[in-house]
């Protein structure tokens, strides 16, 4: 990641994640009311939006998905958050790019991590160091 060519590659990927508003956005002195309303629309509210037919497929449930589900539910069981907080964080506060771009349970676990930091149960640096340690433990670059 630290190599310069990797940094430049990352810049390309991040650039491709920009919300697709195909008008210049350099000076946002004002936002038109319709655009403001669209910005404020919760990303999870998709009912009635146009989409094309796809193959509706099943997916084998992976262990980390089950573990994520259980971790989030047990956090609820033990009073750390309620389901509405989870759904709010997971489905909306992440924003469109992540909402549409990551796995279903990826939203859940990101939401859980964010909640634990936001509420002060763990510190961000503690979480970052834990992530680095888990990566090292599993030989992940």
């Amino acid at each position: 990641m630290s190599a310069r060519k990797d940094v430049l590659k990352q810049q390309d990927i991040i650039g491709s994640l920009q919300p697709a508003i195909h008008v210049p956005q350099n000076w946002n002195y004002e936002v038109e009311p319709d655009l403001y309303k669209a910005y404020m629309h919760p990303p999870h509210d998709v009912g009635g939006q146009f989409d094309v037919p796809v193959r509706y497929e099943e997916k084998e449930e992976e262990q980390w998905e089950l573990d994520t589900y259980v971790t989030c539910e047990v956090l609820g069981w033990r009073g750390l958050w309620n389901s509405e907080e989870r759904r709010r964080r997971a489905d909306n506060d992440l924003g469109y790019t992540l909402y549409l771009g990551i796995p279903y349970y990826g939203r859940w676990i990101l939401a859980a991590a964010r909640m634990l930091v936001d509420k002060g149960h763990i510190s961000l640096v503690e979480l970052i160091e834990k992530i680095a340690e888990v990566k090292a433990r599993h030989g992940k670059k």
Binding site: M40, H41, D45, G48, N82, E84, E85
Partner: protein, 106 residues
């Protein structure tokens, strides 16, 4: 009916239900900010109360961990033709749930 939560605050029940089954109601179109579970596609549309269900905290409170005040919830039935003018079948319907404050008499 029981709710899946151990509340941190004493719960204050809702008053008498404002609507009954068969009443015509319009879904309010309040401004969006941060969070809502009232879908855009039913806002401003008139439907019929299909059921009075339970009392619970409203999503706008619960999403921010305010859990004291309960409110009456309803199932509201809409004609597809009222939701989507181009909809081709007269009889088809959609039902969604709504807490009382999002509904007004129509």
């Amino acid at each position: 009916m029981a709710r899946s939560r151990s509340p941190k605050n004493p719960q204050r029940p809702a008053g008498k239900a404002r609507f009954k089954v068969g009443d015509r109601v319009r879904v309010k179109d309040l401004p969006n900010l941060f969070y809502s579970r009232t879908q855009m596609y039913v806002r401003g549309v008139v439907g019929t109360i299909a059921a009075c269900t339970y009392q619970d905290v409203i999503p706008e409170d619960e999403a921010f961990n305010r859990d004291g005040q309960l409110e009456q919830y309803y199932i509201v039935r809409f004609r597809q033709k009222d939701l989507w003018p181009e909809y081709p079948f007269d009889n088809d319907t959609v039902q969604t749930e709504s807490p009382e404050r999002w509904l007004e008499p129509a």
